[in-house]
Symmetry: D2
Subunit: 253 residues, 4 copies
C-alpha cells in the first residue's frame, strides 16, 4: 500500500525523535538532522526509509492511534494512555458500547473511546466550551473517528440526555456534581468512571457515589515506571511522572 498525498506518516529517527507529519506536495519538514522533502515520502511504502538533505535516514511508519493522540495535546492537561487504558478496560466497554463522556477537552479520551466502541457503538461527548468541541472535531476527523462521536455543547452537571448507556466517563473539575445525572444515564450494571488530579476530588466523588446508591466503588492510581534496559546495567529511569490523577470506578446496581 503506497503512501499518497494527504496521508499522515510517522517519521522515526529514534525513541525520542519521531514526528507525525501530513504528506503535502512541495512541503518540507525541518529536523535537527536536516530537511526532509515530503515529495520523497509520497509513493513509498510504510517501513521504507527517507533521507534528509544531510543524508540522515528516517523510517516511514504508519502511525498508531496513540501517535496521533499525542499530537492532540495543546496546552491543556490530557489523560495519559496508562490511565485511559485502565479506565476503558475496567469500564467493561468494547465494540458496540454506548458511552457518555465529559469534558471532551482536546478529544484524547474521546478518540480512544471511539476507537474501542467501533463499529456499532457511539460516544456522546459533552463540553461546555465551543472552542474545545471545534478543536476536538478537527482532531477526531484527522484520525477518522468522528463518525462514532456525537459532540455536544452542554454541562453534564445539569443534564445528560442519554439513557441506558453502558458507561459514563468524567474528566471534570467537580465530578461529584454529575454523579446523580450519571446514575440516571447509566443502564443497570453500567459503570461510572471519573478521573481527578487531587485526592480531595476523589473524596467528594466517592461520597456522592455512596449517597447515590452506586455500589462496588474503587479509587485507584496507576503509576507507570519506565526502565532503561542495557545488558548489565538495567535500572528504572531517573526522572518519572510521579502523578497524573486518581481514577474512581463505581457500578450502578
Amino acid at each position: 500500500m503506497k503512501i499518497k498525498q494527504g496521508d499522515y506518516v510517522l517519521l522515526y529517527l529514534d525513541k525520542r525523535r519521531k514526528y507525525l507529519v501530513k504528506v503535502v506536495p512541495g512541503k518540507e519538514f525541518h529536523t535537527h538532522k536536516g530537511i526532509l522533502r515530503l515529495d520523497d515520502v509520497e509513493g513509498k511504502e510504510y517501513g521504507d526509509i527517507v533521507k534528509t538533505h544531510l543524508g540522515v535516514s528516517f523510517r516511514i511508519l504508519k502511525p498508531l492511534l496513540l501517535d496521533y493522540v499525542k499530537k492532540f495535546k495543546r496546552g491543556t492537561q490530557v489523560i495519559y494512555p496508562k490511565d485511559a487504558a485502565l479506565m476503558i478496560v475496567m469500564a467493561g466497554i468494547g465494540p458496540g458500547s454506548r458511552v457518555v463522556e465529559a469534558g471532551t477537552g482536546t478529544g484524547v479520551l474521546t478518540a480512544l473511546l471511539a476507537h474501542f466502541v467501533k463499529p456499532h457503538g457511539l460516544v456522546y461527548s459533552y463540553d461546555i466550551s465551543k472552542k474545545n468541541l471545534e478543536n476536538a472535531k478537527r482532531n477526531l476527523k484527522a484520525v477518522g473517528l468522528d463518525r462514532w462521536v456525537v459532540l455536544k455543547l452542554g454541562d453534564v452537571t445539569e443534564e445528560i440526555e442519554e439513557k441506558n448507556v453502558d458507561a459514563v466517563f468524567l474528566d471534570l473539575p467537580s465530578p461529584w456534581l454529575a454523579v446523580e445525572n450519571s446514575y440516571r444515564a447509566l443502564r443497570h450494571g453500567g459503570i461510572f468512571v471519573s478521573f481527578s488530579p487531587t485526592i480531595n476530588q476523589v473524596e467528594k466523588t466517592v461520597e456522592a457515589l455512596k449517597s447515590q446508591d452506586f455500589i462496588d466503588y474503587d479509587a485507584v492510581e496507576v503509576i507507570l515506571r519506565r526502565y532503561k534496559v542495557e545488558r548489565g546495567s538495567t535500572r528504572p529511569e531517573t526522572f518519572m511522572i510521579g502523578h497524573t490523577g486518581y481514577i474512581v470506578f463505581a457500578r450502578k446496581p
Copy 2:
C-alpha cells in the same frame, strides 16, 4: 430483560463479597450470610434483589467481562487487568485487529483480546499444553468469545504460522526465543508486546529486539495503588500487590 436458566449472574453483597453464579434450576448457592435459591433469581431483572434464607439481601448484577475473567484464575498466575489494559491500548489494536498470542494459559488475556478485536478481528492463541487449551476453550465459550479465537497447539519459539498480524502478545518464560518469529509474523508497523515477571527476562527480550531490527522499544511496569476513601480519613491501602511483571513493547519498522 428477564434472567433465565443458564444465565450467569453476579450476586453482590459488598465490594469484597461478589459471586459469579450460573442460574441452574433447583440449585442452591451457599454464602456466609445464608443460602440463596437460584430458582428465586430466575425471572428477576438485573438490578433486582434476592434474599438468603437468613434474610440478607444480594443484588443481582449482569456480570462484566472482568467479572468472568476473574473466575478463570485457577492456580496458575494470570495477567492482571492493570497490565492487560496497558498492553492492549499501547499495542494499538481494536475492532478488526488480527493478533497472535502465546501462551494461552487459562485464557484471561485471550478473552480480553477477543473482546476488543470483535466483530471482525481474530486472535490466534498458541499454547504447548493441550490441557490449557481445553480449559481456555471452556472459559472462552462461557463468555461467548470463542468464535473470535483460534486456539492452536504449538510453540511460537519454533513457528508462528500467521503473517501480517497487527500485534504479537507473549506471556512466556523465554519470550526472547520468540522475537525472531514475532518479527516475521508482524506487519510493518505492527507491535510486539511481552509480559515477564523478572527483570532478567526483560533484559534478554530487549536485547533480542535490538538485534532483530525492532524499533521504539519500551520497558515499563504498571503499579496500581488502591485507596481507602473515607471522609476525613483517606489513605492508600496498607497492603498492596507490589509487583506482577514488566511489559516490553516494540514496533516493527
Copy 3:
C-alpha cells in the same frame, strides 16, 4: 565476649525466622525446628552455633537495636524503620540533641531517638496513657536507653514544658492541635516532624504550620520496595506494605 545470663540473643535460622530471646538458666525455647536449651547458649560467643534437639543449627547473633525494637510491637501501630530513618535524618538531630516526642506509644521511635542523641542529648517523650508510659519504660530499660529519655504523662496539645529544643516529633491523631505548642518549644531553626496515616491529617497539619509562621515545610511519603534477588530471576516482592503514613517537616525561622 562470652554470653552470660540475662543477655538477649538473636537466634537466627533464616531471614524470616529469627528470634530475640533472653538467656534464662533452665529455660527452653521452642521452634518449628525443635527445642533449644538456653543453657546451651550461655558461655558461647556471638557468631557461634547452637543446635535444637532435632539437630537443626541456629546462629547466635548479638541483636541490633532494630531487632529489639521489633519486639516492642504490641497491638498498636508502630513507626517503621523506613519512616523513622528519614524523620531522624531530616530533622537534623544527632548526638547531643534535645528532642520532644509525642506520643510515646510502645517506645519504638523513642528508642531510636534516644539511641541517636546519646551520650549528651535527651528525649522528652509525652503520652496521655499511663499504661503506654509504663510499657515504654520497660522496653527502654531492656535496650539500655532509659537514661536518655524523660517519660512524661501529659498532652502536648495542651502544653509542652521544654523550650529551645532541636526538634519536635509528633505521632498523634491530631498533630495540628500541637503545632502552636511545638513552635514555642522549638529553638530558632528547630525542626517540626509529624507522622500521620491519612492525607487529611497532612492537610490540616500543613495548614496549621502555615498559619503559625513555620517555613520550609514538606510533605512526603517513603515507599519501601523489597526485592527477591536470585541469579537470573530477580524481581520485586509480590506483596508489599503499600502505605504506612505521610511525614510532614517544617522549620521554625
Copy 4:
C-alpha cells in the same frame, strides 16, 4: 548568639530559594530579588530578617547538616538523604560506632556517618582518587566533622586495613569485589551496606554475599514521594525522582 564573620548562614526566601552563604565582610550576595550585603547579616541573630536593595526580605537561618551537604554536590552523583537515612538506621550504627566507607566521593555520606558516630566513633573513608579526598576534606572541615573521619587513599577491593568495625558502607561500581574484604573487616554481627544504581549490581553483590557466608541479606529500594499540600487540592507532585539506587544489607554471623 550573634552571627559573626566566617559563619555560614542559610538565606531563606521560600522552599525553592534558600542559599547557603558564608559571612565575609564587604561581600555581596546577588539574588533574583536583589542584592544582599553580608555586612547586614553580621551581628544579627538566627531567625532575623535581612533585606535586599530591592526591599525583599530573606530569613537568616542556622543551616542544618543537610543544608551543607547539598552544597557538596559537584558533578558526581551523590547519595540522597532518603537512601542515606535508611542505610544508617538499618546498619545499627550510632554514637561511638566504628565504620568503614568507600568511596568517599564528595563526602556526603561521610559527613552524615561522622555526624552520627560522634563523639567517640570514627569513620574510615577510602577513595582511589586523591582529588576526591582533597575535596571531601575541605567539605568535612567546613561542617566541622573532619576529626571523626580518617580519609584514606586506597582501594577496598584490594584491602581494608581496619578490623572489628561495626559496619561497612559501599558506594562503588563493583561492590561485589569488596565483599570478602568487608567480611574480614566486620565484627561478628556487623552490617554490610551497599548502594548501587543498577539491578545487575545488586544481583552480583547478593551472590557474593551468599557465597561469603553473610546472612540476613535484604535488597530494597526507597522511593520518596513528595506532596503538594493545599487545602482542598492536595496531590502528589507531578514530577519525581523515580530512581536513585538500590540498597543491599547483610549481616556477618
